[in-house]
């Protein structure tokens, strides 16, 4: 089922209304808008996803739920299969000799122990793999964010330097032109009065 159907009516209406709205916000100062947006994005991230991200990092380094679950399963499976055998015997009116019963109990105990060991061992491997994969994904995400942030910072710094340089250059050009004009006029005045 689409995620859209999980939304409230109000949320669905908002999406539909948003798709047809054509009023654009006026942005007279993109630089300020960008600064506001960047700041707001970060605050939203902190409010909505920071704890989530920290929880995931913590989970990737400490989670043992698969191993815990395998240990719980070992206890439950033993009782489950013993009960199943008992119900089967009851259903068919079968009876086991004491030796058969002893043998079945011993095999069940052995199977439960060996099966449990294998399941817990597999769970440990799966847990390590799962945690490692989760941590790798988180590191990839973090590295991606880090990389884009640094690129962003470099771009902002370059833009600022470029603008500063251009402004300084323009001022210098203007001053040079002014001095040149004054010089020409002064030279003319000297010519005019010298002869």
């Amino acid at each position: 089922m689409s995620l859209f159907y999980n939304l409230t009516k109000e949320q669905q209406d908002r999406i539909i209304a948003g798709q047809t709205a054509n009023d654009l916000p006026t942005v007279s100062d993109p630089d300020k808008a960008y600064a506001d947006l960047t700041r707001q994005e970060y605050l939203d991230y902190v409010a909505n996803y920071r704890d989530f991200e920290l929880g995931l990092i913590n989970k990737a380094t400490t989670d043992t739920s698969l191993i815990d679950q395998a240990r719980e399963d070992r206890e439950r499976a033993s009782a489950l299969t013993a009960g199943m055998a008992e119900r089967n015997r009851s259903r068919y009116g079968a009876a086991l000799t004491p030796v058969q019963q002893q043998q079945q109990d011993r095999r069940l105990q052995l199977g439960n122990t060996l099966g449990g060991i294998q399941a817990v061992s597999d769970a440990k491997i799966a847990q390590r793999e799962s945690n490692t994969r989760l941590l790798s994904d988180l590191i990839n995400i973090g590295q991606g964010v880090n990389r884009s942030s640094q690129q962003q910072l470099a771009t902002s710094a370059a833009n600022k330097v470029q603008l500063d340089n251009a402004y300084r250059q323009a001022k210098a050009n203007s001053r040079a032109q002014t001095y040149s004009t004054l010089g020409t006029l002064g030279a003319m005045a000297i010519f005019a009065f010298a002869f």
Binding site: R14, P30, Y42, T184
Partner: protein
């Protein structure tokens, strides 16, 4: 006299403002409509037990595959043990698969949340970069134009002054009937010919100018 560069020449271009406006609209739309969905996914990834369904199915599959019906099953002493071992293995596999689904969903949510920030920044940065280049080009062009204008004005003034100075240097002598010499000199605006007579009229001035 040349004026200094005006800060207003360094204002964002209209295209830049339009880009920023559209980017802002898209950002708001996303924040209003998609961000709540992402937060729902975040909560779902934390609260929903993805393993439960898979474990239930693993349990059913194991029982279905390994539980023979009939009296004979009651006499198989290895059967409960085999089912036990298989069940634990299947449940473990189901738990691991459920965990994988949960982890993938959570990292997807986080990736989108973090990538969203990165994308928004990248898009806006691109718009700002393009705008900056255009603004710079326009400001530089305007400044060059101003410089050229003042340069031309200075050149005109210089030429006029030089010409006026030349005019003032001209002189000539004319003689009346009595043979008396009369010296004539040029003024700033009007030169004189060899006879000391002012050269006036467009045609005469042109002739004089062309030598």
């Amino acid at each position: 006299m040349g004026k200094g560069p005006s800060q207003s020449d360094y204002e964002p271009s209209e295209a830049d403002k339009a880009n920023a406006s559209v980017a802002m609209a898209e950002y708001r739309f996303f924040k209003q409509n998609y961000d709540p969905l992402l937060q729902q996914m975040r909560d779902k990834s934390m609260n929903e037990d993805f393993s439960a369904t898979l474990r239930g199915r693993a349990n059913a599959d194991t029982m279905q595959a390994l539980t023979p019906s009939g009296y004979r099953s009651t006499q198989m002493s290895d059967l409960p043990s085999d089912i036990n071992t298989a069940l634990q293995g299947q449940l473990q596999g189901a738990s691991a698969a459920g965990k994988e689904i949960q982890n993938t969903m959570q990292t997807n949510v986080l990736g989108i949340a973090r990538k969203q920030a990165a994308d928004a920044k990248t898009g806006m940065a691109e718009a700002a970069r393009l705008g900056t280049s255009e603004v710079l080009a326009r400001a530089q062009a305007k400044q060059t134009e101003k410089d050229a204008l003042y340069g031309a004005a200075a050149q005109l003034i210089t030429s006029a002054a030089l010409q006026g100075f030349d005019n003032m240097q001209t002189s000539g002598t004319s003689y009346n009937k009595a043979g008396q010499a009369k010296q004539g000199t040029g003024t700033f605006f009007t030169p004189v010919n060899n006879y000391g007579q002012p050269i006036q009229g467009f045609k005469n001035r042109f002739k004089y100018g062309m030598g």
